[in-house]
């Protein structure tokens, strides 16, 4: 090809260069656009739920699960749990045995996420292989994890017990051989709830699926069904796979035995949610066992009352460990008179209408709410907030509880439906506004199952915005999040109630109203005997509602003198004295004290205490008292290698049941998908073909 030389040629050359540049830019753009679209495509395809295969596929007691995401099936080890709880007075000691059985031909690692009471002090772990026992050691969490991983890689049997939340734990068992069973036994100590001469013991059995707010982060994937988000970075650790309920498959059978020694003659013993067999072994003793088959699908609750005139009003237990005496003190203040001329109230009801509440829970919550609204006095003002993916208020501002207003509220409540997400922060913001006004009492009543993963940010929010309001939680359903219920109530300076059955609504709400209307014991203080060098927890004692006792744990240098408890009930000062020498011998008081101190330290994190210091203090305490915490784990490693070098190890996250009364589809379910990527494919195809054309053009240009 020949061309003229000259000034116009310079123009041509310039045009040529521009054309080339444009080609380059277009090609790069096309490639970038294509890459972007492809990335988008990759990001869109996640989410998997578990669908068990048909029973005939899962013959021989094995359970095969099918992952929706890729259609592959996989097997998991099976789990059975045996629980033994010994109650003496106000304290329970429980042994939980988890039997991991591997019916398959491969070697397995099983991971199980399970709940324990929110105040459980877990201090022992043992691994049983056949008739051999391996005792667990307490280590810093990372060190324990590393020891476990090393054992897992080298084929040794090992168990790791970690805490995800005060009431959620994970047990991992590595190298379960084909056809083998490994038993994990953990023990914990717990203080029981004692209110109005009634004790209650709760043993949670299943972690309900939690709503995970925030933006998912693909780097935070794990074995859970939810990836971590900016708000809940450890979401993958608290969202174990959930089995879609079906008639012929229930997982995780449970046996449970309670040996009860109340210390004083018992009046009534009842199990609220499970059929039990009660055997009387003495006036103050009972043996309680679950009757029939039970599975880990709902919380167990045992409650007992003692003969009214023998109900303890003061109790002090001590235990000597080395130089120190550890003590648990309980003092029951008298019930105050109901005041007739009280301040007008402003009551804000908040009801959770998220998908997890669908089914039995929302019915109980609505009934409780309706009862509460109709129970308001004419001088009271009120408002109702519902929340799921969004929060909305019935009235723009609180209104007087006149009959026509409550009628509107009741109609509104009856029409509520449970569906969608659980954006609880939005509801807290609507309910609490940090305002203070001395001419009224403001009470926020929060009805929820607490099925969220972002507890800490919510507690922070409650503390920030509380003002002079008081927050009362009502835990609804078969598996409420006890950590949320207790800590939100503590932060909100109120109290908590559980409703787990429709026929409990009336009684439980009645008790709550009595608390709301009775004078509160304020300015509670404890004076320890001089020179005793006492460290007691909690440091700041909460206000106490009707029927609630003062409870503290303390470490004392010397066990002598007199403890004085005082406070103001309504306007009346109250005072009680307890001689230290009257203390009864108790066991495990040191562990309870350490657990209380750890809880207080963890709470201080929300008040912006420096994390490294708190962490060091918690680790120190936990290592001394052998306790599992957020920063420490128990690990047990069997020295003998088990898995041969050539054999592969499969990993499996053990699925949990859906809590009783929940609706799978309301939590995970959705309407059928109704779109293809055809349009996207066609566009992407066209883009790529265009880019190809451009690339060909460029090739030819440079070929000439």
């Amino acid at each position: 090809m020949f061309r003229m030389l000259g000034p116009s040629d310079a123009r041509i050359a310039a045009a040529d260069r521009i054309a080339k540049a444009v080609l380059w830019v277009l090609t790069v753009l096309a490639v970038v656009a294509t890459a972007g679209v492809l990335l988008l495509a990759a990001g869109g395809a996640r989410a998997s739920t578990l669908v068990p295969m048909k029973p005939q596929d899962a013959a021989g007691g094995t359970l095969l699960l099918k992952s929706n995401a890729n259609g592959e099936t996989f097997a998991v080890p099976l789990l059975a749990t045996d629980v033994e709880i010994r109650v003496s007075g106000m304290v329970a000691r429980a042994a939980v045995r988890q039997r991991f059985r591997n019916p398959h031909a491969d070697w397995y690692e099983g991971t199980y996420v399970f709940p324990l009471p929110e105040n459980a002090a877990v201090d022992r772990l043992r691994m049983r292989i056949g008739d051999r026992l391996v005792e667990g050691e307490i280590r810093e969490r990372q060190a324990a994890k590393a020891a476990y991983e090393r054992a897992k890689q080298s084929g040794q049997r090992a168990t790791l017990l970690e805490q995800e939340r005060p009431n959620i734990f994970t047990s991992s068992v590595a190298n379960i051989g084909p056809g083998e069973e490994i038993e994990v036994e953990l023990e914990y100590q717990q203080r029981l709830r004692y209110e109005q001469a009634r004790y209650s013991l709760r043993f949670p059995m299943v972690v309900g699926p939690r709503y995970i707010p925030g933006t998912p982060d693909a780097a935070l994937l794990g074995t859970g069904w939810a990836p971590g988000t900016d708000q809940v970075p450890d979401a993958a650790r608290i969202t174990p796979p959930v089995l879609r309920p079906r008639a012929d498959v229930v997982l995780n059978p449970v046996t449970l035995r309670v040996t009860l020694d109340a210390g004083v003659p018992l009046a009534a013993v009842e199990s609220a949610y499970h059929p039990v067999r009660v055997r009387e072994t003495g006036p103050s003793r009972r043996e309680v066992v679950l009757e029939g088959e039970a599975y880990a699908t709902r919380d167990f609750e045992l409650a007992w009352t003692v003969t009214p005139d023998r109900a303890p009003r003061v109790a002090f237990f001590t235990e000597r460990r080395g130089e120190r005496h550890y003590g648990l003190l309980m003092v029951m203040p008298p019930a105050g008179e109901r005041v007739s001329a009280r301040l007008p109230r402003e009551v804000i009801f908040v009801i959770d209408t998220s998908g997890s509440m669908h089914g039995a829970s929302i019915l109980q919550a609505k009934e409780a709410l309706e009862l509460a609204v109709l129970g308001l006095g004419p001088r009271d003002r009120f408002n109702v907030i519902e929340f799921n993916s969004v929060a909305s208020m019935l009235f723009t501002d609180a209104r007087a509880a006149a009959p026509e207003t409550t009628a509107i509220a009741v109609r509104w409540i009856r029409a509520l439906k449970a569906q969608g997400g659980t954006e609880m922060a939005a509801a807290v913001k609507l309910a609490l506004n940090a305002r203070e006004s001395p001419d009224r009492v403001r009470q926020v009543i929060f009805l929820t199952d607490g099925a969220v993963g972002n507890e800490d940010p919510l507690f922070r929010l409650i503390a920030e915005r509380l003002g002079d309001s008081r927050l009362f939680t009502v835990g609804i359903g078969s598996a409420p999040n006890s950590h949320f219920m207790t800590k939100a109530a503590q932060t909100g300076r109120g109290t908590f109630t559980y409703i787990g059955r429709p026929d409990e609504v009336k009684q439980k709400m009645g008790e709550l109203f009595a608390k709301l209307e009775s004078p509160v014991l304020k300015d509670v203080r404890i004076e320890w005997p001089g020179g005793a060098q006492v460290e007691s927890w909690p440091k700041r004692l909460p206000d106490l509602y009707l029927g609630e006792p003062v409870v503290v744990t303390a470490a004392l240098a010397r066990a002598e003198g007199e403890i004085v408890v005082s406070g103001t009930l309504g306007d009346v000062p109250w005072r009680a004295a307890v001689p230290v020498t009257a203390a009864a011998e108790g066991s495990g008081m040191g562990v309870l004290w350490a657990r209380d101190k750890i809880a207080a330290l963890m709470d201080s994190l929300r008040e912006n205490a420096p994390e490294p210091e708190i962490r060091a203090a918690v680790v120190d305490l936990a290592l001394t008292h052998h306790l599992v915490t957020k920063y420490t784990s128990l690990v047990a490693v069997d020295r003998a290698p088990a898995r041969p070098d050539g054999a592969a190890l499969k990993e499996a996250a053990l699925p949990t049941n859906l809590p009783d009364g929940w609706t799978y589809d309301a939590v995970f379910g959705e309407l059928p998908r109704g779109a293809t990527d055809a349009r996207f494919n066609l566009l992407l195809g066209a883009l790529l073909l265009l880019a190809a054309t451009l690339a060909f053009g460029m090739r030819r240009r440079f070929a000439s």
Binding site: K417, Q419, G420, R679, F680, F702
Partner: protein, 227 residues
């Protein structure tokens, strides 16, 4: 216009090779050009392959949607003859459970058992657990907004829909409402209330990609006196 044919009087006549010859036989520019040439070739081939693949995918989805419905006709005829759960092709894991017609709109579709992704590639799918189309209660049918159920956007209240059951009986419905809901609004699936047909597809209709959170729901109430 080629300018090189006539000499320009203002400049000296000169000849230039298209590849500007500089100092050496192969200049830096040459090497770069060769490199660019090679890269462009590979890139062009890769892009062509990718483009054809993606384009093919798009065409395949529509072809599958169309062809499957055609094959379903025979299976339906056998179903009408009393055979149960007739698979339209031997390896199918679904079968037609009803026929959906909109008189005067060229809509004649076979509804398949199950509304999971695999079934609705071949036709609108009946959601398991809801009453079969034509029976009492709330029968829910899901389908793709860009293939079988694309016609939903044109349905207005008052339009009649006819459902043929495997026993040949027909039931008429009239569109009552059309609404946009979130995919988690599972109340759409509830069975309480009058006998109706609930057609669910993705929304918006013109979205490029699948997997959005919104659904377009058409509710059609059964008319009495259906035969």
């Amino acid at each position: 216009m080629r300018r090189a044919i006539l000499p320009d009087p203002d400049v000296a006549l000169g000849v230039e090779c298209a590849l500007p010859v500089a100092q050496g036989l192969f200049s830096d520019r040459d090497r770069r050009s060769q490199w660019v040439h090679r890269v462009a070739t590979v890139l062009a081939a890769a892009l062509l392959a990718g483009g054809l693949w993606q384009f093919g995918q798009g065409v395949y989805i529509h072809a599958k949607a169309g062809l499957a419905q055609a094959l379903m006709g025979r299976a339906w005829a056998r179903a009408l003859d009393g055979e149960r759960q007739v698979k339209p092709w031997p390896w199918a894991d679904t079968w037609p459970v009803a026929r959906l017609l909109v008189p005067g709109r060229k809509v004649d579709l076979f509804v398949l058992a199950g509304a999971d992704g695999r079934a609705i590639a071949f036709g609108p799918g009946h959601v398991f657990g809801t009453p079969l189309p034509g029976e009492a209660g709330n029968s829910v049918i899901g389908g793709h907004r860009d293939t079988h159920l694309a016609f939903l956007r044109e349905l207005e209240p008052g339009v009649e829909i006819v459902v043929e059951r495997p026993d040949g009986a027909r039931r008429r419905y009239r569109v009552e409402t059309t609404e946009v809901v979130d995919k988690r609004d599972v109340w759409v699936l509830e069975n309480e209330g009058p006998t109706r047909l609930t057609l669910v597809t993705c929304y918006p209709f013109d979205a490029l990609r699948a997997g959005g959170p919104l659904r377009y729901v058409v509710t059609a109430l059964a008319l009495d006196g259906s035969s």
